[in-house]
């Protein structure tokens, strides 16, 4: 099958106050149409930076240097002009951020911001308001009410649903969800994942899910990429990796998950000297 997005030899380094930090080291992977790909790894392993580089949302050079190629629809994203990029952002690839409470502009209503996103890419939609309300309903919100609500008037879970609605506004092919449930509690986490699952099926979306929750990986993702210190250490089918991790880092990462009922034991950490 032809990959939708092909990442090849991606190498990212940041320059901060004269110090070069190598964040992503020469990684390659493919994203296939209509699959759910999970990128797992601890904090600082480079998974968010990888995802941001797909939309080229990283700071401009010299603060950040990106090497390699990222191919989306025969285009190298890293070589596009700002104008060409804007056509892909939102309409081709959409992004859902980790913190829903800060992802909306506090001074405008949710409806206004979603309508704004629609107008940006879909010129053919006549009744923008009706379409926005329809979108809000699609993610399981009371569309009429939420359209006129300010971001701070909604709960965290509702904000994340609205954020997903906004990401879906321009009918993207790929949805990158950067830890969409990290800021939410367990029950809401499940609802959001169910929602993403449902949307993936109905909207024929390709989802790239960035997470460190193996429960979500196992129930939602078909394929997994495990990243550690800027490198891909293991990739494969999610069932296989969660049940039978091959790489010691993946094993350690899974072993670190605390379980209920476990007592009188130190929480496990990753010992880098082991591999």
């Amino acid at each position: 099958m032809e990959p939708l997005i092909a990442v090849k030899d991606l190498d990212i380094a940041f320059l901060q106050q004269g110090v070069r930090t190598h964040v992503v080291k020469d990684i390659s992977f493919d994203i296939f149409p209509q699959e759910v790909l999970a990128i797992v790894g601890e904090s600082g392993s480079g998974k968010s930076v990888t995802a941001l580089s797909i939309m080229r949302l990283l700071p401009p050079p010299p603060y950040c240097t990106i090497m390699g190629t990222i191919t989306y629809e025969q285009l190298n994203v890293l070589k596009l002009t700002e104008k060409q990029l804007r056509k892909i952002r939102g309409a081709g690839v959409a992004y859902v951020f980790q913190e829903p409470s800060t992802s909306f502009n506090p001074v405008f209503t949710i409806g206004y911001q979603i309508a704004e996103a629609i107008r940006l890419h879909l010129a053919d939609v006549e009744d923008v308001k009706a379409y926005a309300i329809q979108l809000l309903c699609k993610v399981g919100l009371d569309g009429q009410h939420c359209y006129g609500a300010y971001p701070h008037e909604l709960s965290g879970g509702m904000q994340q649903r609205a954020m997903i609605a906004m990401a879906l506004a321009c009918r993207p092919r790929v949805l990158i969800a950067d830890e969409p449930t990290t800021a939410l509690d367990a029950t809401i986490q499940k609802q959001i994942i169910e929602l993403l699952k449902h949307l993936q099926r109905t909207e024929k979306l390709t989802i790239v899910l960035i997470t460190h929750n193996f429960g979500i990986v196992r129930h939602f993702a078909q394929r997994v990429i495990v990243m550690s210190r800027g490198k891909i250490v293991e990739q494969g089918l999610s069932e296989q990796i969660v049940m039978h991790p091959q790489h010691p880092y993946t094993q350690a990462l899974i072993a670190c998950i605390p379980t209920l009922g476990q007592r009188k034991e130190r929480l496990k950490t990753i010992d880098y000297s082991a591999f």
């Binding site: 949302l57 700002e82 951020f97 001074v107 954020m163």
Partner: protein, 347 residues
């Protein structure tokens, strides 16, 4: 958006009171040529330091009292029992109300037997009421015009510094710090003195506005820079970028609306300081020059004869009261605006 803002503003007593005071002041002063019975430089030398007149209503007309002055050097006026009627709709030379409506009448004026000084006269016998209206025009507008210029400079400098960062930010902020390090009144005096004194009155007005704008932008620039630098990394700005909005769109739709509440509040709180600075300059004799006038300049003339001043404080201080009233009103308005613009206070 504006409508709801205005409704919220008028819901508070501060908002109501300040809007009432300010619309009255600005309304009355903008109608000055119509309302003022005399020209600002028309002198009635035999009536210097005339006290305000008592009005009386009888036989369906408004009358004012006449006075008798004691021997000339003294400014003792004794009221008589003679009343003369106020003349309404007095013909005069053609002028333009609000700069466009031609008019050849004054709303009211004095009888030919005795001039009409509603609020008394100053040292040269010029009608205080007329001068108050015309002076108010300058005092009140200088704040508005000054703040408009300041806002542009401050906002522009702040946005550039915050958005671009690096050496641009460094240069702008050092410039701001340098200007802030000098006490503003002395900077104002130095700037004024360096420009020179021989200007026509409209040029002097323009000079003062420019000088005020030059020293006032620093605070705004500093805060705007901080806010822009913060907004630049805000998640919703990144989200907007991820939606495919251009930098200009992000600037207009995300930066400016988030700065708006600060800018509007800062502007309303900046206007009073400009009015005060103008008053201070004029009071020291280096601001607005004769033949035009301002409230600061009127205060200067009021206190010229200290004996008279202490005896007639209550009306010679009227320009000062006008300044205080305006400043209080602007501060209240700034407070009320800040409250009504914060969406988090209205849930």
């Amino acid at each position: 958006m504006l409508k709801t803002l205005f409704r919220r503003l008028l819901a508070t007593w501060q908002g109501k009171l300040s809007v009432l005071i300010l619309t009255t002041l600005y309304g009355v002063t903008s109608l000055a040529p119509l309302l003022a019975p005399y020209d600002i430089s028309q002198q009635h030398l035999q009536f210097s330091f005339h006290p305000p007149m008592t009005l009386k209503w009888f036989q369906n007309a408004l009358y004012y009292r006449t006075y008798v002055r004691a021997k000339l050097p003294s400014v003792q006026y004794t009221p008589t029992q003679t009343y003369v009627p106020i003349q309404w709709w007095v013909p005069c030379k053609t002028y333009h109300v609000l700069g466009c409506i031609p008019c050849s009448h004054k709303l009211f004026g004095g009888d030919e037997r005795y001039p009409f000084f509603l609020l008394g006269t100053d040292n040269l016998g010029r009608d205080f009421f007329s001068r108050l209206l015309f002076g108010g025009r300058i005092s009140l507008s200088i704040g508005l015009v000054g703040v408009l210029i300041t806002l542009w400079i401050g906002c522009f400098a702040g946005c550039i510094a915050g958005f671009l960062g690096g050496w641009c930010d460094f240069l702008t902020m050092r410039c701001v710090e340098f200007l802030m390090a000098i006490p503003s009144l002395y900077l104002l005096l130095a700037l004024r003195a360096s420009i020179g004194m021989h200007f026509s009155s409209s040029m002097a007005y323009f000079m003062i506005v420019t000088i005020l704008a030059c020293i006032g932008w620093t605070k705004i620039a500093r805060v705007v820079r901080g806010m822009v630098a913060g907004l630049k990394t805000a998640a919703f700005v990144q989200a907007a970028q991820a939606m495919g909005q251009s930098t200009l769109q992000i600037f207009l739709k995300h930066f400016i609306p988030n700065l708006a509440s600060y800018l509007l509040t800062a502007a309303t709180l900046c206007i009073p300081s400009y009015i005060l600075y103008e008053a201070a300059l004029s009071f020291l004799g280096i601001g607005i020059q004769e033949p035009s006038t301002s409230w600061g300049l009127m205060l200067k003339y009021s206190q010229e004869d200290l004996k008279v001043f202490t005896l007639n404080l209550w009306w010679l201080l009227l320009p000062g009261i006008g300044i205080s009233l305006t400043i209080i009103a602007f501060n209240l308005l700034g407070d009320a605006l800040r409250d009504s613009m914060d969406p988090k206070l209205h849930t």
